[in-house]
Symmetry: C3
Subunit: 149 residues, 3 copies
């Protein structure tokens, strides 16, 4: 049975909204807006960076960490690639690369290059991140695993 | 009141058209096509790079500048990130990062990494850039300000 | 004559599907999944890298090449920019930049920065790549030519 006009529109809107959510991360973190970063996740959402798991409180205060404050003072860009989005009803998975460029006074260096797997959920307030996993692409199998189907 | 099918389609088409417009910038500038670069802006459009403001004539001749000609001879890529687009009727704002990679004979270096805020307008010829502001992410608060809501 | 709702939906779906196809490349190649890479192309599809042309067999075994295996062991990211897509019925052309970041133990270096021109075809199984051309942006006119209209 073919999808209806409504279903097709909804699927396109879901993709657009998820892409917009993910595209909000870099500008929010680079401008030091912890509340905007936090608002991308559900209340129970987590952000797993290598072996560390942040909850909502940790996500909100990410930009206050000394390392992040140094990044912003030097000049930083958290560049997220165009996502691959897989929709299944009220859930979705998106995979992206992320590249963190830091200014060293002359040029910018890629200090972090990671694989990212974003698990997303449709909530009453729209799509939100339920879990994001980020792993440095440093040769570890765990990073490559985030990029598989 | 719910949006109609027509309104929902239009909003999706607006986003797709704006994304396509922004995605045209890098290929146009890297291939030295000044007319294609110019055509992304309205006739009165401006491009503000740090403290310099270019009008239509300046935008059209950007690729003829000695610095840009050297970039193209060495090998350059103006990579624009997937935009965050905020639509409000016949106007829109998009935020992106941009990274300018230059070949040094062996590898490519990030010579410029910037925050970008694109103000766009719906014209009779479709969406065009009315003002783009670009600021190096070198620690300046002015750059971070371009990435806020 | 205006496009119908069906035509407008189809065009948006085509763009979304093509963007998803292209966004699949980086994760597939960085996780070493040759079958997933291969599946992006038609059976007769080719991948032209500078002066080398790969057919389906060559595309499927790209990730098995010693250079690619070294990249994965060190840590690599094939980052593809948000595509510019031009649709014409059952064919499409997309242009992107691609940046290959390799870990050197401390940070990541851009080992390859290329212009890409993806020719795509609508098949019974959906959109597939019929020919992708990739050329290093090293100052060669052939690379810049891939980015023109």
């Amino acid at each position: 049975m073919s999808a209806s006009i409504e279903q097709r529109l909804q699927a396109l809107e879901d993709r657009a909204e998820i892409a917009a959510l993910i595209a909000r991360y870099g500008p929010a973190v680079d401008s030091g807006d912890g509340d905007a970063v936090r608002a991308l996740w559900t209340d129970e959402g987590t952000y797993v960076i290598d072996d560390v798991t942040l909850d909502a409180g940790g996500i909100r205060t990410l930009t206050e960490l000394p390392t992040h404050q140094e990044y912003m003072s030097a000049g930083c860009a958290h560049v997220i690639s165009a996502p691959r989005i897989q929709l299944t009803g009220d859930a979705a998975v998106a995979t992206t690369h992320s590249v963190v460029m830091i200014h060293d006074g002359e040029r910018w260096n890629a200090e972090r290059v990671s694989a990212n797997r974003w698990e997303l959920a449709r909530t009453v307030d729209g799509w939100r991140v339920s879990r994001r996993r980020n792993h440095l692409l440093n040769g570890a199998a765990a990073a490559r695993a985030l990029l598989t189907d």
